[in-house]
């Protein structure tokens, strides 16, 4: 007999094992791999479920402090976890941003209504913070349900394509979910988060030029106000959302309103925000560029860009680099340490690119949770 180990008395076993191995793996290799992928997704799902359940518990505990009973809070919260927003139709894109803005306002109203009903004894700032807690809980629940949907669908249809996609995206999804899960500590306790660096920089800058909480002019747009300050002969409108509750407000609309109120007299718009850092970049690194630094769904950025373009105003951005976990988690020391450098860059931008007598809008974009006026 010719073959592997031809002269051995065990040669037939070796030959049989060899061919059996080839046949089994060519027929069932893919099935074996799918099985392996499903096991990996299952492990991820267990993790996601744990995060979703724990975040729900934290939300219940947090809401309970403000006047409603355990059962009532749990029941209402479960009802709210399914809340959805239908994005506007984009087959006819004309006016889509206006429609989106309207829907987002409506969504925000509903959230505020729900939180006020569920926490009747909470203050305004606490209500904003509770809204953030609710949103995080909702995100974690949604992520879990979506991944579970594709897991079950993949299993049901035995579709390698579906299972493979979920398995390959799972590390990213878990990282994102973990970042949001960790952020619950900040949102439920009212601690400042990394994303709040924009409003913090603006407030610190305004305070250096004599602004106080009393000089803050409120509600130029929804939950956004500004400090008017004099800087080297220029008037700076240092704009940010109202804290220390958790809100981002509508800063784009605020910029637009200020430009309209000061028709032809605004010389520059400077935006300050947190931006996602690339892997390998240092946390808290400061970068600058051109454009509106704001990460909304569209309406706010559009309002800013349109106001700048129509009035021929230079618009620039200063960003502080952060990863997802640092942006939604409790503020990191490295991010806080970037404040003096950002203030220095703002000062340079004002002195270099504007002249005495000009008016400037300085917009600090971000969530104001834990950041006072």
């Amino acid at each position: 007999m010719q073959g592997i180990g031809a002269d051995s008395e065990f040669s037939w076993i070796i030959n049989l094992a060899f061919f059996a191995f080839i046949i089994i793996f060519s027929l069932y290799g893919a099935k074996f791999q799918i099985w392996q992928w499903l096991k990996q997704i299952e492990a991820g799902l267990i993790e996601l479920k744990k995060m979703a359940l724990e975040s729900r518990e934290t939300a219940i505990e947090t809401f309970k402090r403000y006047g409603k009973g355990d059962e009532e809070v749990a029941k209402e919260l479960d009802r709210w976890l399914d809340y959805f927003t239908i994005m506007p139709v984009d087959l006819d894109p004309a006016g889509i941003l206006k429609r989106l803005d309207h829907l987002l306002d409506e969504r925000r109203d509903r959230f505020q209504e729900f939180v006020t009903d569920l926490a009747p004894e909470a203050s305004q700032a606490e209500l904003q913070t509770l809204e953030n807690t609710l949103e995080v809980t909702q995100v974690l629940s949604l992520v879990f349900r979506i991944v579970r949907h594709y897991y079950i669908l993949g299993k049901k249809t035995n579709s390698q394509l579906i299972i493979m996609q979920v398995q390959m995206q799972l590390p990213d999804i878990l990282l994102l979910a973990k970042a949001y899960f960790d952020s619950l500590d900040a949102f439920s306790e009212g601690k400042p988060i990394g994303d709040g660096i924009g409003p913090l920089v603006v407030t610190r800058f305004a305070r250096e030029y004599g602004a106080t909480p009393d000089s803050y002019i409120t509600e130029i747009s929804r939950e956004v106000g500004y400090y008017p300050v004099e800087v080297e002969g220029r008037t700076v409108y240092a704009l940010r959302a109202t804290g220390p509750g958790g809100t981002v407000g509508k800063p784009g609309l605020a910029v637009k309103t200020l430009v309209e109120q000061n028709k032809g007299r605004i010389a520059r718009i400077i935006t300050v925000d947190a931006a996602l850092k690339l892997e390998g970049e240092e946390l808290g690194r400061v970068s600058e560029g051109t454009g509106a630094a704001i990460g909304d769904l569209g309406p706010e950025k559009h309002a800013m860009e349109q106001a700048a373009t129509e009035n021929n105003i230079g618009i620039e951005a200063i960003v502080i680099k952060e990863n997802e976990a640092a942006a939604v988690g409790v503020m990191d020391k490295k991010i806080l340490d970037a404040v003096p450098e950002v203030i220095e860059r703002i000062r340079t931008a004002i002195l270099k690119r504007t002249k005495p007598g000009d008016k400037i809008i300085l917009a600090g974009i971000g969530n104001t949770i834990g950041i006072g006026l």
């Binding site: 051995s8 065990f10 806080l336």
Partner: protein, 119 residues
């Protein structure tokens, strides 16, 4: 259990490697040694790589940094975060050094440094 399984894994990998590379003095038994060696090495490797994820470290505590508002006073205090603290909050307590007013200048966490990329 973790250490034992890792040690067993190393033993199996080394043993399997010896069987695989050295084989047998009997030419006819060589092929069986190769297969056995490979199987034992595979078992060793799976023991070495198994064991699930590393135990997650809890997040570091959040601290509140308080500083005296008097620019000539250098008093600074770092304490654990208390509910109700927020950045730029004016405190009612007076500076123990100059009796001036004090403000919360920071609420933050000191996270573990990310490994520095070598490229």
């Amino acid at each position: 259990m973790g250490v034992i399984s890792k040690l067993l894994g190393i033993v199996l990998v080394v043993g399997g490697g010896i069987m695989f590379f050295l084989g047998s003095s009997d030419q006819n038994m060589n092929i069986i040694y190769y297969f056995l060696g490979l199987t034992i090495m595979a078992m060793g490797f799976s023991l070495l790589t198994a064991g699930g994820k590393k135990e997650e470290k809890p997040n570091p505590p959040t601290v509140t940094e308080i500083a005296c508002d008097n620019p000539e006073c250098t008093f600074k205090e770092i304490r654990d975060f208390q509910k109700g603290d927020f950045i730029l909050k004016s405190l009612e307590t007076k500076c123990p050094k100059c009796q001036g007013s004090m403000t919360i200048q920071g609420v933050y966490m000191v996270r573990e440094e990310e490994p520095v990329p070598t490229v």
